[in-house]
């Protein structure tokens, strides 16, 4: 038996956008096991629910994470709305899904850039982020913010998108889609990209199912789980929706799923922009959640299924608010995928679960 060496990886590492620590147990250059450790950016945001009332807390919820900011404000809003029995106007539901899908486009483009950077393809990284800027410009034009929008709140959304602006968004996405076709060709068909990703960090369908993997990470192993298929909000009005899946379960499959999900999101935005109904975008909210009332809801974040729980206590302050994020669930899958890989592939495999440690630790 070769001598075993333990190498600490992270929490500060050039390839990691966020702090996660791994103790890599090596035999020569092969990773035998990886022991994860998190807890470097815990901020105690859930406790703040006792200090900010349920209308103000939406601004705290969207600061759980910079990339999934709109998703978290949407998840929090829909949980409290269900808790209080508030029915949101249809137009607000459409606008929420449009912003949420735009968030998925920018999140996946960001991830694709980071992946290209991880396997040393600098120009591909720059071009991915160049395209992402156009989505951020759409956010700034429609909500006023590029990262934190403060667009969704309990009872609907804060501002409307005019029909002319919606047509403009679709035109920008059409232009983005044609350039994206070239970009995705480089990710999926380029020899150098494929040679770094194919057959690396394999997670089988059985392993993904046993470990409960979610999001593109699980779908790349063949799991068909996507909360959007349940039809929450405006997703129920889509003519068709089928989760993007792949079978191989390696880094290439995870890249392929995300590349195709960007196109799927653009299609969803096109369809919803074409059939968005007219009407108000919010309803007035009065009162407070009842004492002891509990509610849980789920939504599909760019990284996978996210679970929200809220409990009322009869006042304007919630008793408890809890978020279970996709990265927290995918860490066991990541550790399994790391076992048996080469040391040089570790950064890329860690990246392919799209870790969002800020979400996980809140």
């Amino acid at each position: 038996m070769a001598t075993r060496t333990i190498i600490p990886f992270g929490p500060q590492h050039p390839v990691l956008p966020e702090p996660v620590h791994l103790d890599l147990v090596l035999e020569d250059e092969t990773v035998v096991a990886a022991i994860p450790q998190i807890g470097f950016v815990h901020r105690g945001l859930e406790k703040l629910v006792e200090k900010r009332d349920y209308m103000q807390f939406v601004y705290v919820a969207e600061r759980i994470c910079g990339i999934c900011s709109f998703g978290h404000s949407l998840g929090y809003s829909q949980t409290v709305e269900a808790l209080m029995g508030i029915e949101v106007p249809k137009r607000a539901e459409y606008l929420r899904v449009i912003w949420h899908e735009l968030s998925r486009v920018h999140s996946h483009l960001l991830w694709l850039g980071l992946l290209a950077d991880a396997f040393g393809y600098e120009s591909l990284f720059m071009h991915s982020w160049r395209l992402r800027e156009r989505v951020l410009d759409i956010f700034e034009e429609t909500t006023g913010g590029r990262v934190i929008f403060s667009a969704s709140n309990v009872g609907g959304v804060k501002n409307d998108i005019e029909d002319s602006q919606l047509a403009g968004i679709v035109a920008v996405l059409d232009g983005l889609a044609s350039e994206y076709a070239e970009l995705s060709g480089a990710f999926l068909n380029d020899y150098s990209a494929a040679s770094r990703m194919k057959g690396v960090g394999v997670l089988t369908k059985e392993q993904a199912h046993t470990l409960g993997c979610v999001g593109p990470f699980g779908r790349a192993s063949g799991l068909g789980a996507d909360i959007r298929a349940l039809g929450y909000g405006a997703y129920e009005d889509l003519s068709s929706f089928a989760p993007v899946t792949a079978a191989a379960g390696d880094c290439y499959a995870r890249c392929e799923v995300r590349v195709k999900e960007v196109l799927q999101s653009i299609e969803i935005i096109r369809e919803l922009a074409a059939k968005i109904p007219a009407g108000p975008v919010s309803v007035p909210v009065k009162g407070a959640p009842e004492a002891g009332a509990e509610m849980a809801s789920r939504l599909e974040q760019p990284r996978g299924e996210c679970f929200y729980y809220a409990k009322g206590n009869g006042t304007k302050f919630l008793e408890r608010f809890r978020v279970r994020t996709p990265t927290a669930i995918n860490i066991p899958g990541m550790v399994t995928a790391l076992a048996g890989c080469q040391l040089a592939d570790v950064p890329m495999i860690v990246l392919t679960i799209d870790p969002c440690i800020s979400c996980t630790e809140r």
């Binding site: 601004y59 700034e140 006023g144 403060s150």
Partner: protein, 118 residues
């Protein structure tokens, strides 16, 4: 599979306009809805303090005795709550950012004394 899949895009980048602006020589026009900073029309303000109550970050302080409206721009999270609840519509979200500052000081706006009738 093949190589040089990014060739056309790279050539366009080589001979086309740069994707970034030469900041600060060239700055981009903000969108009308861009959240820059909060301005107050102190003449119209009645110092009711609703903006202070609604501010989730505690950035606004309104003092009736001292007749001042104070905002700490370093605490403001630009959530739009204050101007949307203002009963006199004297708060506005301007689309320009505030100038850089060397000290983290609050901005105090004093309401002038009402003119004595007669």
């Amino acid at each position: 599979m093949g190589a040089f899949k990014l060739g056309r895009m790279t050539m366009r980048s080589l001979f086309g306009k740069p994707a970034c602006a030469m900041y600060p020589v060239k700055t981009r026009e903000p969108y009308p809805r861009t959240k820059g900073h909060i301005e107050v029309d102190i003449e119209t303000c009645i110092l009711c303090g609703i903006c202070e109550k609604k501010c989730p970050a505690g950035a606004i302080t309104v003092s009736k005795p001292e007749r001042t409206w104070t905002i700490n721009p370093f605490s403001c999270v630009q959530c739009d709550s204050c101007w949307q609840v203002c009963p006199k519509k004297c708060l506005t979200m301007e689309s320009t950012y505030t100038a850089p500052s060397a000290a983290m000081s609050a901005r105090i706006v004093s309401k002038p004394e009402a003119a004595v009738a007669g």
